[in-house]
Symmetry: none
Subunit: 203 residues, 4 copies
Amino acid sequence: MGQDNDGRTRVDESAKRARLVRYAVETIAEEGFAKASLSHIATRAGVSKGVISYHFAGKEELIQEVVTSVMADMGEAVFSRMDEQPGAVGKLRAYIESVVAYMRVHQAELLAVVEIARSRPGGSGTSDLTGSDPVVRVLAALLAQGQEEGELRDFPPRLMALWLQAMINALLMELVARGDELDLDLAARELITVFELATHRRA
Amino acid sequence: MGQDNDGRTRVDESAKRARLVRYAVETIAEEGFAKASLSHIATRAGVSKGVISYHFAGKEELIQEVVTSVMADMGEAVFSRMDEQPGAVGKLRAYIESVVAYMRVHQAELLAVVEIARSRPGGSGTSDLTGSDPVVRVLAALLAQGQEEGELRDFPPRLMALWLQAMINALLMELVARGDELDLDLAARELITVFELATHRRA
Amino acid sequence: MGQDNDGRTRVDESAKRARLVRYAVETIAEEGFAKASLSHIATRAGVSKGVISYHFAGKEELIQEVVTSVMADMGEAVFSRMDEQPGAVGKLRAYIESVVAYMRVHQAELLAVVEIARSRPGGSGTSDLTGSDPVVRVLAALLAQGQEEGELRDFPPRLMALWLQAMINALLMELVARGDELDLDLAARELITVFELATHRRA
Amino acid sequence: MGQDNDGRTRVDESAKRARLVRYAVETIAEEGFAKASLSHIATRAGVSKGVISYHFAGKEELIQEVVTSVMADMGEAVFSRMDEQPGAVGKLRAYIESVVAYMRVHQAELLAVVEIARSRPGGSGTSDLTGSDPVVRVLAALLAQGQEEGELRDFPPRLMALWLQAMINALLMELVARGDELDLDLAARELITVFELATHRRA
DNA sequence: CATGAATGAGTTTTCATTCAT
DNA sequence: AATGAATGAAAACTCATTCAT
């Protein structure tokens, strides 16, 4: 009884949390972080306020889980595409392409994460897509590697990583704000062009 | 008596408002827009909460004045530099250089404006430095002009304007977060390089 | 479980609202509408301020419920008495008698409603007992009917309805202010006498 | 210098107070007592808030002066008309007629006084026109006198006085609310008819 | 004398969190 | 395990009053 029950319980628990996280994403994406009170999230999820406090230690934990779950999901998609590429340059291109592809399908999730990154008290509010340095560090490392491999010109890798993130982010905001007027394929191609013009060593 | 008094009064009033605006800038820049309650601003200014309500019709008016005063101040500096340049390409370069120069001296002011642009309910939340489309439109127009003049390659001007703003913005955030490790002169030069590589027609 | 629980919950909720409404009535009746802040009501009810905001959407809703619940309660008593009477004259007499009877038992409730009617922003502030035109209109209709039936003399029905309400209201205020010195039975009889002398067609 | 100056000062002082009282009347009549903050009154008077605090010990004193000045002004008009009449019955009729006449010309003043009587914390909120018992006592005394003189039937004088005031008051409210639809002359005649039917000894 | 800047108490409302059931 | 009632802090705003100039 113990094990089975524990197993089921954990599954239920995890499923319940996932469900709440999904509604939190919806709420934040549609109403903005400031308006996304536990009440609103609970109402949208069709449960009582207390449920969230029951399943999560606090609002902070819920928000954390929103960020980590979205990042994990996107990370899976993005890194698998990056892994297919042998060199740094190819990986960077795969990064941009796969993030934009993810953006097309998961607008709300990314928007929620950006909202959180912007509004969080502790957050530096930097304009990276993820709000977290790890991604920037990975990109900077790839850029440095590309320089060592002789494919990329000389520039400060961290700065370029920040700018790349900022441009992707700006594209997301534009997609959210004017999705109907925006040709995302064209924009993605243009973003890659800009990035490559800016970074590739000139012939 | 009347005139002198009126004169003095208006100066005092305007000076007082300017003082409160300055403290609002400080508070928003250091604690973020969400934490910048009237209480906090008042405390930092060393006055009681009511003072702000006395001098401003509401929080909205105070915030507006923060934005407009910073934008007006920066606009003066930036546009005078742009006016010195004859062509679109020169103006764009002057824009980047003078915004970065302004950023160096008025970090807090710009940070406050960015915070406001991000957190305001009505705001589109886009990652442009100013939070306002007008600047983006001006930049887009210059980019289009540069294309017509044959100096810039073909790309969607609005998108490029958004990206330029996003990069400037990211630079500001980096300056705020890691000012001591950042060589702003180098970064500015690099930003111009990136922008020109990305936009100029290739020989 | 679901049904019982829902049932109990609804009863509890409604009971809690009723309890808060009762305390609101008390507070308004004793301290006046202007002083009846949510703080005062909550304190008197022995709960925290937030409780009211929890059970009611806002102060407005609480006040509305005070008015509607008192009016509904009184209306039941009054209209059942009026219905027993066939003619307009009998109904009017029943109206006066039953309102005064209700007044004797539910002084605070009526006082609260009058206070609200007087102080509410939207309120016309007229001196009718109920603060609402509907009652005046019903009375005016009855008066007009009595005139058509030939039992009442000729006068402007609406004006007379207003005056009747004003007199009932004045009686309530006197009851509140000097209840110990007032012979309510005598007053009620006298009010009916006055009303009938003023309205009945003279033999 | 002393006397003249004092003299002039006192006149100025009194004139200044009267001016503020006039604006207080306007404000209360048009916006209601609740909205009649010192700010609003001062703004309407075109002076600074401090002026009122300077000329009056507090808001209470200003409001008192509104009441007493209006009552004094109306009292003058009303009592001179009453004095022309020899008997109690004539005086009562003169009272009603002259109050209604005053009402026609000084709607705002009476409305302000009623607003104050209703909303004042200490006030019982009774529906008498003046908010003060003295008038009721005078009317009650006249009614009792009329009874002694054999012209009026037997009824409780104080109650009848309250009802008379309540009816006059209701007429004022109707005048304010629907002045354009109300035939004040007709209403006044009707009020006298009602009053006389209700009080005069039947032949 | 007169002003208007400043204060601080008080209002309604929102919200994350706690807790008894 | 889950609920929802209750709390208390914090927010923006209003206002009568005080006080230095």
